[in-house]
C-alpha cells in the first residue's frame, strides 16, 4: 500500500532539480521517516501501522489469513465511497446523498432486472446511469444555482432514500446475481472474496491518477482553493463541479450494488447507508482531505478507510463488548485526527513538498 501511496507524491519532491543519486542509494530509516512526513498521507500511514502493530501484538488472531478476509468488507466499500467523496470535498463541498445512491442503485438494479427484464449487466449500467443523473442534478444545484451543497445533497439524500422505500414498498428482496450458486457476474461485482478489494484498489489508483496527473484533478484543486481565481483564469468551474458530483454519485451507486450482491439481499433500510456515509466522510478526512477544500488525496482516503476497518476488527478481536465499539471508535477518530493535524503542521514546515 505504501508503494501506491508514494506515487502521487512524485509531483512534490524529485523533479528535474531533484538529485538523481538519492533514488539509487538505499534510504536510511530517518530518510524514510521524513519522506513519510512529507507525504500528505504520511501521518495516517504511520497511525494505521501503529494500530495494526498494536493489534498484532495484543491479539493472536489479527495477523491470520482468515482475519484478513473478515477485515476486507470493513474497509473496501468505504474506500470506494470515500474516493468519490474526496473529489467533492476538494471542491470545498460535501455530498451527503451518497447514502441515498447507495440505497437507491441496488433497488433500481433489481427492478430493471426483474420487472423490466434487462440482463444483469444492462441493469447494472441502467442503475449507474441514474446515479450519474442524480449526481448531475446535485452538481447543477450547487454550481449553477449556487445552493449550498450540504442542503442540496441532504435534500437528494432524503428524496432518494424515500423513493427507495416507495419503490421497494419497504420489503427486502433477493439480489439478482447474488444468489447461490453465484455466477461470474456476481463474483466480479461484489460476491467474490476479493472482488471489492480489487475494485477498491483499481478505483483508488485510477482516481488518484486523475486527481494528480490530469487537468480534471488540477482544476478540482484550483476550484477548491480559489473558485473566483480559477474562473478568472478560464477554468469552466460549473462543468468541473457537476462532473465531480456525478463521479461521487457513481461510486456510491456502484458500492451499493456490490454490497447488495455480496449480502444477497437488497435491504431498503436507510439506517445502514446513513452510517456508512459518515464512515466514508470520516475515512476521507482521516486520510488528509480537508473539509474546507483545496486539498485532498484518494489514496489517503483508502488508508483512512483501512484505519477504521482495522480499528473495528481489532477491537472485536480484543473482545471489546459490542456496546463499547462505537465509543472506542469515536475516541480513536479524535486521536487520529488530532495526530493528523499535528503531523500536517510538521509537513507544512517541511520543505520540498507541493
Amino acid at each position: 500500500m505504501a508503494s501506491v501511496a508514494s506515487d502521487p507524491a512524485s509531483t512534490g519532491p524529485g523533479g528535474p532539480e531533484g538529485p538523481a543519486q538519492s533514488r539509487r542509494a538505499l534510504p536510511s530509516w530517518r530518510e524514510i521517516g521524513s519522506r513519510l512526513v512529507a507525504l500528505r498521507e504520511g501521518s495516517i500511514i504511520v497511525i494505521t501501522l501503529v494500530v495494526a502493530i498494536y493489534f498484532s501484538v495484543n491479539t493472536s488472531s489479527f495477523l491470520t489469513g482468515g482475519n484478513l478476509e473478515t477485515l476486507l468488507p470493513y474497509f473496501a466499500p468505504f474506500a470506494i465511497l470515500a474516493a468519490g467523496e474526496v473529489f467533492v470535498m476538494i471542491l470545498g463541498e460535501i455530498d451527503l446523498s451518497i447514502a441515498g445512491m447507495y440505497l437507491f442503485a441496488p433497488i433500481i438494479y433489481y427492478k430493471l432486472n426483474t420487472s423490466v427484464g434487462l440482463s444483469l449487466g444492462l441493469s447494472l449500467i441502467g442503475a449507474l446511469l441514474i446515479c450519474l443523473a442524480v449526481g448531475a442534478v446535485n452538481g447543477v444545484f450547487v454550481s449553477v444555482l449556487g445552493i449550498n451543497s450540504f442542503v442540496t445533497t441532504l435534500g437528494t439524500l432524503f428524496t432518494f432514500e424515500g423513493l427507495s422505500l416507495i419503490i421497494s414498498k419497504g420489503t427486502p428482496v433477493a439480489t439478482p446475481g447474488g444468489q447461490v450458486p453465484v455466477g461470474t457476474f456476481g463474483k466480479v461485482f461484489g460476491a467474490g472474496t476479493y472482488s471489492e478489494l480489487i475494485w477498491a484498489i483499481g478505483i483508488v489508483v485510477l482516481l488518484q491518477i486523475v486527481l494528480t496527473f490530469t487537468r480534471w484533478g488540477l482544476y478540482t484543486v484550483a476550484i477548491g482553493s480559489n473558485k473566483l481565481g480559477a474562473a478568472e483564469a478560464g477554468v469552466r468551474v460549473n462543468l468541473v463541479m457537476i462532473r465531480n458530483f456525478m463521479l461521487c454519485a457513481l461510486t456510491a451507486g456502484l458500492v451499493g450494488i456490490f454490497e447488495a450482491i455480496r449480502a444477497q439481499t437488497v435491504q431498503p433500510n436507510p439506517a445502514g447507508p446513513n452510517e456508512i456515509l459518515f464512515f466514508a466522510v470520516a475515512a476521507a478526512v482521516i486520510g488528509g482531505t480537508l473539509l474546507t477544500g483545496g486539498s485532498g488525496t484518494v489514496v489517503g482516503a483508502l488508508i483512512g478507510a483501512l484505519f477504521l476497518g482495522i480499528l473495528k476488527d481489532g477491537l472485536i478481536l480484543q473482545g471489546v463488548q459490542a456496546n463499547y465499539l462505537l465509543f472506542y471508535t469515536g475516541l480513536a477518530v479524535i486521536v487520529a485526527m488530532t495526530a493528523n493535524v499535528f503531523v500536517g503542521r510538521a509537513r507544512r514546515g517541511h520543505t520540498g513538498s507541493g
Binding site: T11, L218, A222, N226, A230, E232
Partner: protein, 285 residues
C-alpha cells in the same frame, strides 16, 4: 492647472486629439476615444481619450472614484462603455468578454491576482494552458516545470523553487508570478491594477524592476494603476491622470514632477470642497 483639452502635451503633432489619422495609429497599440460610462445616476467616465504606444509603460493615476478602475474594466472586456470606441492595433476593438479581450492579447492582472494557493508555481503559470502528453490526458509536469523555469528566467523573476505551492511565496513573488502568467500567455498589452498595493518596499521594488525589464524587452505595452507618484515617475514613460471622468493630464513623466501631480489633485479637492461649501451656503441662506 493643466488644460484638460490639451491631453497630448509633448507628444508629436501626428497624434492630434479627436480626429485619428490612420497613419498616427501605427505606433499606437491601443487607442481609447471618447469613452463614457454611467452607472445609474453616477457618471464614472465622461469623455476619456487615452493612447498607448508599443512598448510603453503608461501610469494611470486618479483619486479613488475618479474612474480609473472603470476604464481598466472596459479595456479588459469586463464592462461595456455607454459610448465611445476603442482601437487595437488600428482595428476597431470591442471585447465581448474578458476571454475575448485575452484572445486579442489584452490581459489584466487583478488585485486579487487570481492565483491558486494550493497549486505549485508552474501549475499556476500554466493554468488553462497545461502541457499534456498528447494522446493521453496526463499532465506533462516535467515539461511545464522546464518551460516555467525558462519563462521566469527570461523575465528575470527569481523563484528558487517552482514546485512549491504559491501559498508559501511572499506578496512580491506572487505578484511577479501573476505578471509572468500574463506575459507567458502571449498577452502584448498588460493592465496592472494597483500592483504595489499592500506591498512592502522591497517587494514593490521587485515588481518595478520586473516592469522595467519588460519595458526593456519592448514586447509588451503596459498600463499600470498606481497611487504613489514617486513610483509613477520611476517606472512609467508617461502618465495620464483621470479626474472627474476625463483625462486631466497626459504628459511624459520626464516633463512632470511629484509636485505638479500632487498640486492637481489637491487643487481639484479644494475646488470641489469650495463648490460644496457654496452650494451649502446657498441652500442655507
Amino acid at each position: 492647472m493643466v488644460d484638460p483639452d490639451e491631453p497630448n502635451g509633448a507628444i508629436p503633432a501626428a497624434e492630434a486629439p479627436d480626429v485619428v489619422a490612420p497613419a498616427s495609429a501605427s505606433d499606437d497599440v491601443l487607442r481609447v476615444e471618447h469613452i463614457a460610462k454611467r452607472f445609474g445616476p453616477v457618471t464614472a467616465l465622461r469623455d476619456v481619450n487615452l493612447h498607448l504606444k508599443k512598448g510603453e509603460v503608461l501610469g494611470l493615476l486618479g483619486d479613488n472614484g475618479a474612474g480609473k478602475s472603470t476604464l481598466i474594466k472596459i479595456i479588459s472586456g469586463f464592462q461595456k462603455q455607454d459610448s465611445g470606441n476603442m482601437l487595437l492595433r488600428g482595428q476597431p476593438y470591442a471585447p465581448k468578454s474578458v476571454d475575448d479581450a485575452r484572445a486579442q492579447g489584452i490581459d489584466t492582472v487583478y488585485q486579487d491576482l487570481a492565483l491558486i494557493d494550493e497549486l505549485s508555481v508552474y501549475h499556476n503559470l500554466f493554468l488553462r494552458r497545461e502541457r499534456v502528453f498528447k494522446p493521453l490526458p496526463l499532465l506533462a509536469n516535467r515539461q511545464m516545470k522546464r518551460e516555467a523555469r525558462t519563462a521566469l528566467d527570461e523575465i528575470g523573476i527569481n523563484i528558487p523553487k517552482i514546485d512549491v505551492a504559491v501559498a508559501r511565496l511572499s506578496g512580491g513573488q506572487r505578484q511577479a508570478i501573476a505578471v509572468a502568467r500574463t506575459v507567458n500567455s502571449d498577452a502584448d498589452i498588460i493592465l496592472l491594477d494597483e500592483p504595489l498595493a499592500a506591498m512592502g518596499a522591497k517587494e514593490g521594488a521587485q515588481i518595478l524592476d520586473l516592469v522595467a525589464r519588460l519595458k526593456q524587452e519592448g514586447k509588451v505595452s503596459i498600463i499600470m494603476i498606481l497611487h504613489n507618484y514617486v513610483h509613477v515617475l520611476q517606472a512609467c514613460d508617461r502618465v495620464s491622470m483621470i479626474q472627474d471622468g476625463v483625462i486631466a493630464l497626459d504628459k511624459p513623466t520626464a516633463e512632470t514632477s511629484v509636485e505638479e501631480l500632487t498640486d492637481i489633485v489637491v487643487n481639484e479637492y479644494r475646488r470641489a470642497r469650495e463648490e460644496a461649501h457654496a452650494e451649502a451656503a446657498q441652500q442655507g441662506g
